[in-house]
């Protein structure tokens, strides 16, 4: 059932040379069809209204003072084919009706007409246009979603990774996607899936650490009725769900050892055994796995099976971190700016050069995800249309996550000595103060005491680097 407010927003334009008919039709149709009605006697004004007011339905007479209604019909079909145009005339001939319908009229009426009949047709026409526009909108949405990849960026590092991903799509081999948190591992999996022959089916994603061990097993492989208490029905696992498609095992580094053995069997034999069933089932599923952990280290300490690692690592790709693709930061910034501008219905927002430089030089341990969240917050909260570094500094990102080990010395080497020194000093100070504040649970006096500095000097530094003690409590 369509909401009455939505119906009230629907628009009908009536064009006729007789004022009385216009007034009568407006009165009848606005009431019976629950819509806004505009009336005009002139074709020029009608054309203007079609462009600016964008009605859903145009009801036009054929005989008009300046030119005829069929010309207006022709104009409507060329300007916006989703508009439904109904033609009416007092001097109707079959030829005229055929002509109007062939040009694209939704319906044709002879005057005088029955009010009920015309309001029924106008209602149907309003509904037709609504459906056509909705269909068009959804198609556009699908088209944007169906792009081969949703990665944004032109840097060499990213383009090389995309190139690998698209090529991996042509094969059926298992791919291990590696990269820091927030670098887009799921988008990478989607890119491989879309470039593969399985693209027309939906990819299944399993977030491994999100589910407890025994649930993860039943979710992945499914179970038979009676396999355990509460198993009242047979359930297909996610592997069966992904039959003929791709399955992404997200954060594979976190799955328990017992399940790793079972997964090994799936990868080796391409078959699964649902819980409580003795038979195995052959499956045709492409497996992709992603992780931000050091699997080699996990193998050494015995928490990841070496044979599974080699089964998964048939092909692998490492996604670049944001600091490896700094040249893409302006592009990403404008992309997210436009995205959130539309989402929060703000207009004409922009970024100052100073802001762009700030974003490029800032450290992003959470990579694109952190960058995106930062932009999201800034667009929502900024009081002005031009975003300045201050809008980002208010971000309560825990600065304690900056550690000396994350400094990228290679990116510093590309900067002039003075800038590099400033950058390193700023990163060091943020990290130093942050670590102390974290240790002292945000207690500034205690942190200052530990650093050997006076409280005021410590606070001055905190202000300089926009650190807030509340973020560490």
């Amino acid at each position: 059932m369509i909401n009455k407010t939505i119906r009230k927003n629907r628009k009908l334009l009536i064009v006729d040379d007789e004022r009385d008919i216009l007034v009568l039709l407006k009165k009848v149709l606005s009431k019976k069809c629950v819509c806004n009605v505009a009336i005009t006697e002139s074709i020029k004004e009608a054309q203007e209204l079609i462009n600016t007011w964008k009605p859903e339905v145009v009801l036009t007479d054929i005989v008009l003072p300046e030119s005829d209604g069929l010309q207006l019909l022709d104009y409507v079909t060329k300007t916006d084919p989703t508009i439904s145009c109904i033609v009416m005339t007092g001097y109707g001939t079959i030829e005229m009706a055929v002509n109007a319908l062939k040009i694209g009229a939704y319906d044709f009426f002879e005057k005088p007409f029955d009010n009920d009949k015309i309001s029924r047709v106008v209602k149907r026409a309003l509904e037709r246009t609504r459906l056509l526009r909705e269909n068009h909108h959804l198609r556009q949405k699908i088209l944007t979603n169906c792009k081969k990849t949703t990665f944004i960026g032109e840097s060499q590092a990213l383009q090389q990774a995309i190139d690998h991903l698209v090529r991996f799509g042509q094969s059926d081999a298992t791919v291990l996607i590696r990269g820091q948190s927030g670098t887009g591992k799921e988008i990478a999996a989607q890119t491989i899936h879309l470039a593969s022959k399985r693209a027309d089916r939906k990819m299944v994603t399993v977030n491994c650490p999100a589910l407890p061990e025994h649930i993860l097993e039943s979710e992945l492989f499914g179970y038979c009725k009676g396999a355990f208490t509460g198993a009242d029905l047979d359930k297909n696992g996610l592997f069966l769900e992904a039959e003929g498609s791709t399955i992404l095992l997200d954060e594979i580094g976190d799955i328990p050892i017992s399940l790793q053995t079972k997964l090994l069997r799936v990868l080796q034999e391409k078959e699964i055994q649902p819980l409580g069933q003795t038979k195995t089932l052959k499956i045709d599923v492409r497996v992709l796995a992603s992780t931000n952990q050091n699997l080699e280290e996990k193998i050494t300490c015995g928490s990841f099976r070496e044979d599974l690692y080699y089964r998964l690592n048939v092909m692998s790709v490492v996604l670049p971190s944001l600091c490896e693709m700094k040249e893409d930061i302006p592009l990403l910034a404008y992309h997210f700016l436009k995205k959130y501008e539309a989402e929060y219905q703000r207009n004409n927002m922009s970024l100052s050069t100073e802001t762009i430089n700030y974003l490029i030089n800032r450290h992003w341990p959470g990579n694109v995800r952190e960058f995106q969240n930062c932009l999201n917050r800034a667009v929502l909260l900024a009081p002005n249309d031009v975003l300045t570094p201050k809008n980002f500094l208010e971000d309560p990102t825990p600065y304690s996550t900056h550690t000396l080990s994350t400094y990228n010395s290679s990116s510093l080497h590309n900067l002039p000595y003075k800038d590099a020194k400033l950058q390193l000093l700023s990163d060091f100070t943020i990290s130093y103060l942050g670590t102390l504040l974290q240790e002292q649970n945000g207690n500034v006096s205690a942190a200052a005491r530990k650093s050997g500095m006076g409280r005021q000097a410590f606070q001055r530094l905190m202000r300089k680097y926009y650190l807030q003690s509340e973020s560490f409590r």
Partner: protein, 124 residues
């Protein structure tokens, strides 16, 4: 040359239209019975059907809908002696390419047929 079928319950009218179009080099087949037309279209590819509306058992618009279901690419011209805006609207919404009124002038018929056949060629 196009494959054209003509359906009219009056045999003479069928033959007359058939004769005009055969002279233009088309391959024409005339029918007076609706079921024969449907059977014919099931087995033979047809470019254009010219249908009368008042028939013996069905209406020409019903035949139009059946033919479009069997061969969606088939073009149809309705040719009727009892025209009305309702039937014109109905025929065009069911996919007829044109709606003509009897008696039809020879030249007008040839022109309408050639206009529709240009559309067939374009679709090919």
């Amino acid at each position: 040359m196009a494959r054209i079928i003509i359906l009219d319950d009056v045999k003479d009218a069928c033959m007359l239209v058939g004769k005009i179009l055969t002279k233009q080099g088309h391959d024409t087949t005339a029918f007076t019975d609706e079921e024969d037309v449907v059977d014919f279209v099931k087995d033979n590819p047809v470019d254009l059907a010219i249908l009368d509306i008042k028939l013996k058992k069905m209406s020409g618009i019903e035949v139009l809908a059946i033919l479009k279901q069997i061969q969606p690419t088939i073009q149809v011209i309705m040719l009727t002696g009892y025209p009305s805006i309702e039937t014109a609207r109905d025929a065009l919404s069911k996919g007829a390419s044109d709606y003509c009124v009897k008696p039809i002038d020879r030249d007008e018929l040839i022109e309408k047929v050639s206009q529709v056949l240009i559309k067939v060629k374009k679709n090919e």
